[in-house]
Symmetry: C2
Subunit: 333 residues, 2 copies
């Protein structure tokens, strides 16, 4: 089954039989707003704290994905989930409500593709019949952990990202209808020495390039074999950098090279800066926008290379540089 040093192939073609995306107001007002299953205009989701709001959003997405997959939570073999908050609390706390065997994963904003990869591996190796994956982020929980208290109103440079309020979940199953997961390329941790947390797009671009290059090498394909190649959230600064780096390595990413962080918001929306980020961003853009192109028969093969900046507030304060990672998953019709 091993095609190369970083890529897994899934010959049984595990299917995404159902998914759901729930987003906040700003994401709902963006160009993909009509694609999402629910837009919640109350940033608190009716809860007393933003952290509990994120949890509730995540729980709703998971329940809705299971419903869209025409099964019940008891039919789920395993749940694989993660988020951006310290100690993965959105994933862990939302897991209390379903009581299914649970695997916590962490790759920052690349978390959902790690979850997809492991879920497809579980289904393909016949160790799970239906695996629920999910990832979430909330602008207001990320702001107060990674940046400043919102009330402080700190100014940001245009290279900054806007953490998406978004949660997505999907059921990957051995049987059923839906886009298939055919390959996953596990990324390496790359750190080229950027220490400025306002420059995450630039920091993450080399990781996306490294994983794309490994994927093409492992599969023997070219970028022309994909209808879309979407990076996770490099944004308007990091995405052109990735394109330039690929061209320098002799890889033409073509016009089908896009970015979930750019797709999520309109550049004219207030305070979106270089684009969306957070584990929820790439998750809901993939589930509700990119995969719909496969479901509607418009596209046959899409690759998403989710990128993650593996920093923490503590490492930033201690002057550390930012290790980054990118995991890629191939979806086919």
């Amino acid at each position: 089954m091993q095609t190369g040093r970083q890529t897994w192939r899934f010959p049984s073609r595990p299917r995404i039989t159902g998914s759901a995306s729930i987003v906040g107001a700003k994401e709902g007002d963006g160009p993909l707003g009509s694609s999402f299953d629910a837009i919640e205009r109350d940033a608190y989701f009716g809860e007393p704290s933003f952290e509990k709001a994120e949890r509730v959003m995540f729980e709703r997405a998971q329940r809705l994905a299971v419903k869209h997959s025409n099964c019940s939570m008891n039919d789920i073999s395993y749940v694989i989930a993660g988020d951006l908050l310290a100690q993965n609390i959105s994933a862990s706390f939302s897991a209390r409500t379903h009581s299914r065997p649970h695997l916590g994963v962490f790759s920052a904003c690349a978390t959902i593709m790690e979850a997809f990869a492991l879920a497809a591996l579980l289904v393909d190796s016949q160790n799970g019949e239906r695996v629920l994956v999910g990832a979430s982020s909330h602008n207001s929980t990320a702001e107060r952990i990674f940046r400043y208290p919102t009330e402080y109103g700190g100014q940001k440079p245009q290279t900054a990202h806007c953490t998406a309020t978004a949660a997505g979940a999907a059921v990957i199953a051995a049987q059923g209808e839906g886009p298939a997961i055919t390959e996953a390329t596990v990324g390496r941790v790359i750190d080229l020495g950027i220490s400025n947390p306002w420059e995450m797009g630039a920091a993450m671009a080399p990781a996306a390039v490294d994983t794309l290059r490994a994927h093409l090498q492992d599969t023997g394909r070219t970028t022309l074999d994909y209808d879309w190649i979407a990076t996770g959230d490099l944004g308007r600064v990091g995405h052109p950098l990735a394109r330039q780096m690929l061209l320098e390595q002799g890889i033409d990413p073509g016009h089908q090279f896009t970015d979930c962080g750019i797709l999520l918001y309109d550049a004219q929306q207030p305070e979106v800066f270089s684009g969306g980020s957070g584990p929820g961003c790439c998750t809901v853009v993939t589930l509700s926008y990119l995969l719909k192109k496969i479901q509607e028969g418009k596209n046959k093969r899409i690759m998403v290379i989710a990128t993650g900046a593996l920093l923490s507030p503590l490492t930033a304060q201690q002057g550390d540089t930012i290790p980054c990672i990118a995991h890629a998953v191939t979806f086919e019709g």
Copy 2:
């Protein structure tokens, strides 16, 4: 391959071909001190911060495990690692030094068994030839995140745990000599409503019981089929509670029922309270003490049920209860 709803079986018997454990002074002074590969008496490991110290300890353990496995880092297909610090920084930052494809996992103090389970799955499904797993914790990094600044000298109740300064790593391979990983049981998140972070043993006991019960049900075995059944770090408070809960469910855990958190320290050592904890605790006790019994031919089958409390300082401050999880792995000679 699926034996039940929570247990994976690995018919190809992936082997632990090499491992390493590095610990701090208190762990080195404990009853298992002579079992470990290195005892570092400088809590800073020569670094300017405790976080960087944990990272260096983790890197050393990974390099030594690869060396003990008679291979080089380039022979490692994937690395699966995690720790207790916010945003998994010890695992992510140590990954910069090896440049191998990396999967971050998080199950708090149960992290190493999630890593073992996924590594064995990768090797058994022929998607990886050699997978490096690891987990770490450092008393001084955990203290200042989860409890109080050490300098504050806050008093603790006897139900508290002592987070171990310990990092362990192991190579799981398709070929070679060493204890085999034959099964893994993925735990469910259990939360019985305990909100006091000084009572983690009591909070985690129900998760250990739930996973042990599921494991026995999935495999059709009894506790007598194991030479040792070790919980992760329930400690002197949680472990007797788990025994009592098992007896109430008609499961006699027998005299072979032990606990890594109790084994790591002598109860007479200063400030060990109810026993060790932290992802490093169960990791080094398993690798350097329990698995040696298999290597020396004394034991044939050992199960370790690592337990994790999935809380964060933020959830504790917001008055949340503590979701817990336990993952079990069976090791055979």
